[in-house]
Symmetry: C2
Subunit: 138 residues, 2 copies
Amino acid sequence: MPAGTVLDLGKFQESERRLTPQRQAVLKAFLELSQEHPTAEAIYQAARRHCPTVGIATVYRSLDLFVQMGLIQKVPSLNGTARYETQKVPHNHFVCLKCGRIYEFDKRPVVDKNIEKEGFEVISSSTVCFGYCPACRQ
Amino acid sequence: MPAGTVLDLGKFQESERRLTPQRQAVLKAFLELSQEHPTAEAIYQAARRHCPTVGIATVYRSLDLFVQMGLIQKVPSLNGTARYETQKVPHNHFVCLKCGRIYEFDKRPVVDKNIEKEGFEVISSSTVCFGYCPACRQ
DNA sequence: GTGATTGCAAAGGTTTTGCAGTAAC
DNA sequence: GTTACTGCAAAACCTTTGCAATCAC
């Protein structure tokens, strides 16, 4: 895999999807920000630096597409603003109840085989902690 | 604790908060539905049966208050619609990616002491699984 | 050329807010 | 009598959608 390539873009060629400049800009923006679990708005701002004419609707459509393709993942939110992150299963989060920032901490796989026996299909699992981050504690 | 009482309402007397008929209706509605991790809208509909004049804004304000008081808990969502549940720490969820319903499965405490050393204050933690529930798999 | 994709603007859904009136203590 | 609380309607916010124009293949 070439240096700098984190996502498997071959999936575009395999499908009938097009890797347009807008989608590239959204992907690039996402990769730049992926450490901080960016919101759609943050990705939009960053994407406009690569493709100044891109619209917010295209950003949402692209992100949905990437989620659907399994390239990235949507993180559930407490305040109604979705965040996105790289596809890592399992992964563990700390969500700050005040600022909403998401931090990642060391992996600690937790899988429960029982619920699959009950007919649930588990795609991914993660452990989430809620509380206050160092910046918000003072 | 009297039968049927699940939440600690003494917290109302301790504070200068008032336990109005509207708030009682919201609490009652929440308790009726707590098994299914209700949305604010569902709680609103149920609360109107107990207090027909209650407004949706009051429902939101009450739920926020209960969360703040630690009586109930808000569940992060993927689709922008919050859900509420009883305060249980830790608790484990299965979130259906299709219908958004939340199922609870057996407790399996996962705590990471390391992140507290780094300055994070952990209020609660839970393990979340994403996938498809039995009803949505066909 | 054809069909997927885009940008815009409008609509959608959920939640919050301002404010005058009301009710709990 | 105070002060917290309420209902209403409007606003705020995030996200999705319809559609004509455009672009990638």
